[in-house]
Amino acid sequence: MSARAEVLARVRRALGRERADPDVIRAEADGLVGELAAIRPPVGDHDAVERFIAKAASERVAATVERLAAADDLPDRVAAYLAERGLASRLAAALPPALAGLDWSGLTLADAIDPNEAVALSWAEAAVAETGSLVVASSPAAPVLFNFLALHHLAVVRADDVVAYLEDAWQRFAHAPLPRALGLVTGTSGTADIEGQNIKGAHGPRYLHIFVVDRF
């Protein structure tokens, strides 16, 4: 007997039954998350974007957030971020066509990421007001490492893409196969493994800076 067959047989023996009806199981499973409002923290009536910004900038998530009226301002604001911190004007960027077409002439954008890259700019498909999380999804235009490798993680999200709850975030991907890597990024790479001291930049980003853009 294969390991697969044996493990499944052991499960059925332990449960003391044969195969159950999948429709019945599905109905029962749906019922378990039927009333989400009763089992998740209410986001409240605030504007979801405001709430997201407050959460992301909170002490726990510790991101810095800038709200931009128009995408056209993005290259200047990125340049300002780098200049204020004395960083070189080169960064790795993985951007959708709408952003790649902006005037980036003051900066050097690399489309591949170096193992010791200082700054990476990435696109978030959505953001979650409940937790202050960014939702990043892999695709040919959005390699995964841009979110996890550089010391400074700069991310862009559309104000219209801010959703209230975690469930709303993955609901956006429900009608197609899930992106190969779907990530909730809620802060930076941190550790408290040595004497409980919170240290940022354990493996990946030490800084997270989010641009929330109203108009494209």
Binding site: A3, A14, A20, A29, R60, P143, F148, R180, I194, H203
Partner: protein, 471 residues
């Protein structure tokens, strides 16, 4: 690979732990902090109790339909390009994993902390097969350098002081300089591990959840080491216990909200990632192959047993952080991979009760673990079940057995018990000579060696006082 952990010397190890001031300080500081954080997260989430009930029902539901969810997950994971393997036991799981590493012609294998990996002895198996194993979780990196075992399932190097870490890093990390500052120590590990992430041919992780209806593997970390370990090497391997399934993303969401709050008082960990399959056409990064090993290793045996509720555990460590026994003796005394209340159930349940018979007895039945468990596992109840089994399987030593047998015989006979307890109370009060507690008790040295024996209050036995109307 046989795991060399053993809980046979629990009592001796526990006594040694009590005499280590460094460990006592570390335990006190960390458990106090984590209890406060969890309490704060609980207060801030008014729906916590309802969410906890839902989380518990989700886990019960999955266990009741485990065969269905295993098959559904397998079909969806394979459709997404992940190869699913099955392992009956720890040896088979290690064999499959090391064989996959060999086929990938791996020299260096990076690993994300996974309790299942520890449980099946995967680190030892990888070492024995000759791979350079690199633990990427900072605490596991420290433990690997020290040759130590994890002492806590969430904070595995809780027992190490900054000075000890400093010495280890000075020896292991080029350019071998002495560092005192914690931030600089972390930076030193960052530099060393960064090279390994890029050098590794295989990355191995565990899973926090396996999502049945889309085949996704969910991992949560604060360090972000899972993302680098799983995305940089050419081959990615996940080892996961068969109990890790959830029906859908929404069900995972309920448990995610409970997990980080219970573990560290956070709403979510910093990085929560859902992975489905290997690199897709056009992708510029990601692994060429993704493998998942579904591991039974004793779980199906538990499923049909009274102890089945322990399979609901989501490894948050809230029970450990709130356990007064763990708070005194730390994790190593438990001798296994798992500690505290969940460990005192899991280790005897999955390995051998004979070799870990002291664990379910190392509990005051105060019930704090039952209260804080985010999926409502009746931990003290399960420990009582195990205690009964040590009795029935004759694992209790002779003097205790005789003593308890005698006690049982007396308490079942009121005509014997009442005069005997009257006599006992009088004798104890005589010995106490008016003091509230006895420092020494003839024949009770095992008790009074480490604590006082409370003297009975004035007024005679409970029955006497009850009859007089003192209620």
């Amino acid at each position: 690979m046989t795991v060399t952990y053993t809980s046979e010397h629990f009592k001796r190890e526990a006594r040694l732990a009590l005499d280590q001031p460094n460990l006592q300080r570390a335990l006190d500081r960390t458990t106090t902090l984590l209890q406060a954080r969890r309490a704060e997260a609980y207060r801030a989430f008014g729906e916590f109790d309802a969410a906890r009930a839902a989380g518990s029902r989700i886990k019960d539901h999955v266990l009741r339909h485990l065969d269905h969810y295993l098959e559904t997950f397998e079909a969806n994971a394979e459709a997404a390009g992940c190869k699913v393997h099955w392992a009956r036991d720890a040896d088979e799981a290690c064999r499959i994993t090391t064989e996959l590493c060999r086929r990938a012609e791996a020299k260096t294998v990076t690993r994300v902390k996974s309790m299942l990996g520890e449980e099946i002895g995967l680190p030892e198996a990888l070492d024995a097969a000759g791979f350079e194993r690199v633990e990427t979780d900072l605490a596991e990196h420290i433990n690997q350098l020290a040759g130590d075992r994890p002492s806590h399932i969430v904070i595995p190097a809780l027992h190490k002081t900054r000075e000890e870490v400093s010495d280890l890093f000075e020896r292991a990390h080029p350019p071998h300089r002495h560092i005192d500052d914690v931030a600089e120590l972390v930076e030193s590990a960052r530099t060393t591990l960064r090279e390994k992430y890029f050098a590794a041919e295989v990355g191995i992780s565990g899973a926090n959840f396996l999502v049945a209806d889309n085949g996704a593997v969910c991992t949560v970390t604060n360090e972000g080491n899972a993302e680098l370990t799983m995305q940089l090497p050419r081959v990615q391997i996940v080892t996961a216990g068969i109990e890790k399934l959830v029906p859908s993303m929404d069900h995972a969401g309920v448990l995610l909200r409970l997990l980080a709050r219970s573990a560290l008082g956070m709403e979510l960990t910093q990085y929560t990632t859902f992975l489905t399959g290997a690199k897709r056409p056009g992708d510029r990064d990601g692994p060429e192959e993704m493998h998942l090993v579904l591991v039974d290793a004793g779980r199906t045996e538990l499923l049909g047993d009274e102890l089945a509720p322990i399979l609901k555990c989501i490894r948050c460590a809230a029970c450990i952080n709130h356990c007064p026994v763990y708070g005194q003796i730390g994790g190593h005394a438990y001798g296994g991979v798992y500690q505290g209340p969940m460990g005192s159930v899991l280790t005897p349940a999955m390995a051998s009760l004979a070799k870990s018979k002291d664990l379910p007895h190392a509990c005051t039945l105060n019930g704090r673990c039952d209260e804080v468990c985010p999926v409502a596992i009746p931990l003290t109840g399960l420990m009582r079940t195990l205690r009964e089994r040590t009795w029935r399987q004759h694992l209790v030593d002779r003097p205790t057995r005789l003593g308890l047998g005698l006690w049982g015989a007396v308490v079942r006979r009121p005509a014997l018990y009442r005069p005997a307890s009257r006599l006992g109370v009088r004798a104890l009060r005589l010995l106490a000579r008016g003091r509230p507690a006895l420092r020494r008790l003839p024949g009770g040295g095992a008790w009074t060696r480490s604590r006082d024996f409370a003297a009975p209050p004035p007024g005679g036995t409970f029955m006497a006082r009850y009859r007089r109307g003192e209620r």
